[in-house]
């Protein structure tokens, strides 16, 4: 019987949410292709994180002192060994920064190409095709492997719903890869956080967020006026903070803050996945964008298709009028 193998990422010993989403994707894929589901995670077999992986019928604890800190070389070597033992049909990963770092190397070592950042799949008559986004979400592509197994896939955050964790009923097998310290060429140091944030967007009830559609630093004032009229906090997409037009601490997204306000008003923001993961928990999303096909409209409750330089001043005036 063929195997779908899912690599989960652990934080403090527990599988991360996106890892559980990847596990759910793996379970779906296994049932669509008549395969068994196996899960693997770095850690010791008696670690608590393994006890909730009941969806899998085989569970492997990748246990080795050289895996205590993530390195691309260590993880690649360990995964290659488990894959060559299990000979899975499909290998799934959560599309995290770690996976982005080592999975392409792992795939290359196996003579394969990772199908990255997958949002869905279709299986019919033994052929599985995977959907992934191109042009920052403006286009979908259907991809498939043209080589023998294994086919390697990473799964986008939020694309599959994580199942409620179920208790593990199978024995967790410890898999000790053969690793050589000299083959690990990078020396990582402890992760650290940037200086304490002075703006906490995560508790703001109203947020007006600005993207590259604003074109010029001087135009930010237009957005600030709207935010002031609404009594909202000002936030931005990454390119605005990269350019130094607003401080880094106002950046929303995978490398910035995660927010969940009652109102998120996105102005001139296209809606790339790295931005969406930071704000899609908002209760109401409003988007102003001149491109009716901008991906932000995928998740917006209300939209205005138009030139922000006309719409925003009109909106600021209308809000002021409504507030009296």
């Amino acid at each position: 019987m063929s195997t779908v193998l899912v690599f989960l990422e652990a934080k403090s010993g527990e599988p991360t949410r996106i890892s559980l989403e990847a596990l759910a994707a793996g379970a779906k894929l296994a049932s669509a292709t008549g395969a068994v589901l196996a899960a693997a995670m770095v850690g010791t077999a008696n670690g608590t994180g393994f006890s909730a992986l009941g969806a899998a019928s085989a569970i492997y604890a990748l246990d080795h002192p050289l895996l205590a800190h993530y390195t691309a070389d260590g993880y690649t070597a360990a995964c290659v060994q488990l894959i060559s033992r299990l000979q899975p049909e499909f290998v799934l990963f959560p599309h995290t920064y770690e996976v982005r770092d080592f999975a392409p190397r792992l795939a290359t070592r196996l003579g394969r190409v990772l199908i990255s950042d997958v949002t869905g799949f279709q299986a019919d008559a033994g052929r599985v095709t995977f959907t992934r986004q191109l042009f920052q979400g403006k286009l979908n592509g259907q991809y498939r492997a043209a080589s023998p197994a294994p086919c390697l896939i990473s799964v986008q955050a939020g694309a599959f719903r994580a199942d409620a964790p179920t208790a593990t009923s199978v024995a967790i097998e410890t898999f000790v890869p053969e690793l050589d310290a000299s083959a690990i060429r990078t020396a990582p140091s402890e992760p650290f956080r940037a200086a304490a944030q002075t703006v906490d967007l995560s508790s703001a009830p109203l947020i007006v967020s600005v993207g590259r559609g604003i074109k010029d630093e001087a135009n930010i004032a237009l957005i600030k006026d709207l935010a002031d009229a609404l009594g909202a906090e000002l936030a931005a997409s990454r390119p605005i903070c990269d350019a130094g037009w607003l401080p880094m601490e106002r950046q929303v997204g995978s490398s910035g803050q995660t927010v969940a306000p009652r109102l998120y008003l996105a102005v001139g923001i296209s809606g790339a996945i790295q931005h969406l993961v930071g704000m899609k928990g908002s209760q109401c999303v409003v988007a102003i964008n001149k491109d009716e096909n901008a991906p932000i409209f995928e998740i917006a409750d209300y939209g205005i298709v138009g030139d922000l330089f006309e719409v925003v001043p009109a909106l600021t005036a209308a809000v002021r009028k409504a507030k009296g």
Partner: protein, 256 residues
């Protein structure tokens, strides 16, 4: 330090997405092209390193003839020379095939450092650099914001999720994929543009590199995403749309 920077030419940001006749790529008539965003930051890092430590910056790009313009732009910003892997059928290669072409074109350069962007803005694979590192047999690190020379080789700053960072040390030769945003990008000066015309730009036909396009992953088809959520579009003049939105914010969202 001898540094190679891989630069991809991609469609302009506001490009209208229409699928072409064959259904395998977007229609490119009337499309303007630019340097991939994270690659521009990779180039900037390379130029800063050369200014600090001396050496050479070589730009590498694969694509049809028009890619030459983007290489010239990098030369105008200060890169020393360019290598252009010329191909009109690059889409026949997958990321592994492309990285094999790149590896074959630069193997004899014996560079100390190879920089790529984190991710291309069109295909968005986020992989080509890491694959190239494995093919070259050198260590890598991705999502890099800052590069410093260290006794042992390099000390780099890697971006992690949710505002976390990490330093990593590694020996050279190494490959780094560069994340956008850490530095201000320079503009090409008039002098730079003039000088670029005289700099070496070597054209290497892809089919001279001995790499067959035998993809292990295929892009079958493309489609515009179908709307999942029904967004209420508020239409009319800007003033009408604004008034309609204010009403929604008052009556339904209740935030006004």
């Amino acid at each position: 330090m001898k540094i190679i920077v891989a630069i991809k030419q991609v469609p302009e940001r506001d490009v209208r997405i229409r699928i072409d006749g064959a259904g395998r790529w977007i229609a490119l008539d009337d499309v303007e092209f630019r340097m991939n965003e994270s690659d521009a930051y990779a180039l900037e890092e390379a130029l800063l390193l050369r200014e600090a430590h001396g050496g050479e910056v070589i730009v590498l790009s694969a694509g049809p003839e028009r890619v030459g313009q983007t290489i010239r732009e990098a030369l105008a910003k200060g890169a020393d020379r360019g290598i252009h892997i010329v191909s009109d059928t690059l889409a026949d290669y997958d990321a592994l095939g492309l990285a094999r072409l790149m590896a074959a074109a630069i193997r004899n350069e014996a560079a100390d450092l190879i920089l790529t962007g984190l991710q291309s803005d069109d295909l968005g694979l986020g992989q080509t650099g890491v694959i190239l590192a494995e093919l070259m047999g050198i260590p890598h690190s991705s999502l890099i914001l800052k590069i410093e020379k260290a006794d042992t080789g390099l000390k780099v700053l890697r971006e992690l999720e949710d505002g976390w960072f990490q330093h990593i040390e590694m020996p050279t030769p190494a490959l780094l994929t560069i994340q956008s945003g850490n530095t201000k990008l320079r503009y090409a000066t008039l002098m730079g543009i003039k000088k670029a015309k005289t700099k070496e730009l070597r054209a290497v036909p892809a089919d001279s590199l001995g790499v067959a396009p035998t993809p292990v992953v295929l892009l079958d088809s493309l489609a515009l995403p179908s709307r999942q959520k029904t967004t209420q579009i508020l239409s009319g003049t800007p003033a009408e749309a604004a008034a309609a939105l204010v009403e929604k914010l008052q009556q339904e969202v209740r935030v006004l």
